[in-house]
Symmetry: C2
Subunit: 280 residues, 2 copies
Amino acid sequence: MLLSVLQANASVMDVDANLRTIDDAARRAAQAGAGLLLTPELFPVGYAPLRLHAELDPGTLPAIRERLATIARTHRIGLVYSLPALAQAQSREQYDDAAQPPHADSAWHITATLLDAAGNEVLNYAKVHLFGPEEHKAFVGAEEPPAVVDFNGIRTSMLICYDVEFPEAVRAAATRGAELLLVPTALSAGFDNVPQVLIRARALESQLNVAYANHSGHEDVYNFLGGSVVAGPDGSLLAAAGEGAALLFAEVGTEAVKAAREEVPYLRERRPELYNEWDR
Amino acid sequence: MLLSVLQANASVMDVDANLRTIDDAARRAAQAGAGLLLTPELFPVGYAPLRLHAELDPGTLPAIRERLATIARTHRIGLVYSLPALAQAQSREQYDDAAQPPHADSAWHITATLLDAAGNEVLNYAKVHLFGPEEHKAFVGAEEPPAVVDFNGIRTSMLICYDVEFPEAVRAAATRGAELLLVPTALSAGFDNVPQVLIRARALESQLNVAYANHSGHEDVYNFLGGSVVAGPDGSLLAAAGEGAALLFAEVGTEAVKAAREEVPYLRERRPELYNEWDR
C-alpha cells in the first residue's frame, strides 16, 4: 500500500481552513495512488490545548467528524485524523483528583480515528501519555492499549505523539499484531532526535512500519519541528520531511515486516513474564 | 568520570593473547585518566560459543578472573570483562528441557563483571537474552534483572549484547536508578543500526549513558562489525569507532542525566501498571 503523510501548519480554531488543507492533501494523495492519508495531532482544530479547552464547543465535533468522513469518501482514500473527544465516564473516574481537569464532567481525551475509503470509522485510539503542563490541564490520559485492525491487508494500529516515545506503547501494538503504526504528532522544534532516532528505533525493535505526521511552523505558542518520517521494519527511513509543509509518500507492506521478524526474532524472544516481574 | 571502551579482535581460546590486549588497553586508558575500561563480550576467551562449550575447562576460569583483577589493580582502573560462568542450579531448574544444553549439570551463563580499581568485584550480571542457535546450544539465559551499583559516584549497571536491543532490559536498569549502562557485545557486520539507532534510542528513552564495546575482525566463524559507541542521555553520540581496533574515550557523568530527566520526565511519566496489564 502506498501511504501518504501530511505535514502542514494548522490555524488554531479555524476548522474550515484546516479541513481545506486536509481535503487538498487527500485529493493529491489519492491521485498519486495512496490508500491512506495520515494527518497530524489535533490538526482539524489546531494544536492549542488550553485554547481548545476554553473555546472549543464539543457540540461542534460530530459535524467536523462528518466533514472528515466526507473528505475520505469523496477522494476514496483512508484517512487518519486526530481530535479531542469526551472521555468515557468510567475512564474519568479512574483518575485521581490531582489529574482531573477543572471540569471533570467534560473531561476530554486526545484521540485518533482511522476511516476507510468509504468514510467508515474502523479504529479509534485515545492518547495514554500526555505531554507537558498544558495537555495535563486540558485533557486526561486514557488507559486502553492501542487496538489493531486489518486495513487494506495490513494489520494497523495507532498511537499519538508522546505515546510513541515510550517503547512499551509500541510493544503493546506490536504484540497485538501491528505491522503498521500510524502516529499523529505535534512535536516542537529542537527535538530532532525523536523522529531521527526514537521513531527509527521503535520501527526496528518491534519490526513494523511507523509513520509519524507532524505540524510545521507556529500554532498558538508552539513552534513545530516538522521532520515527519516513515520508518521501515529494519529501522531505515522510507521518507523524511524538512521543516516546511510536505506530503510524504512511502510504500508500506507486510513482506518487509515478515522478513525482518524472520531475520531477528525480537518479538518471539521477548521475555514478558520476566519484564512484568522486573517492572513492579 | 572519563570512560574508556576497548574495541579489538580476540583470539579464540588464546587467553594469554587476549589478556595482553586488555592489559595494554588498561595501561593506556589509565594513563589517559580513565576511571573505567569496558571490554567486549567473552573477550578473554574469544567469542565462539560452540568451541567454548566443547573446549573450555571451567576449572581454568578462577585463574583467568584473578589475572583480570591483577590488571585492574596494576593499572588502578575499573574494569568490565565478560566470561562464561557456571549457572546456579536454581536457575538451571527453571529451564524446560528444550532450552537445556546437552550437559545441564555444567550449564553456563554468559556473564559480565565490574571490578573496581583495587580489583574487587563490585557488580555481576548474567545475560538474559541469548542470540542465535549457537548461544542457545552453548549457554542458558539468566532471569535476574540488571542490578545497579555506585561506581565513582555514578549509578552503574550492565547488560550484555542482545539484551540491550530489548528496551525492557534497559528500563529494568533505569528504573533501578542506573545513570551509566555498560554493555559488552559481539555484534556481527551488517547490523550497523544496532549501535547507530538502537543504542542511541536506549540512551535517549531511558536518559542514561550507554557504552557498547564490540569486537572487530574475524573470530571463529564470525565477522564482527566494530562500530562501538558511547551515547549520552540526550541520544547523542559521545564517541564512535570504525571497523578496526580502537580505544574510545568519553566523559560520562550524572549532570547530563539529571538535565535530560528534568527536561522530559520519561521515567516519571511511564505507566508501568498499564504496561503490566497490557503485556500479559
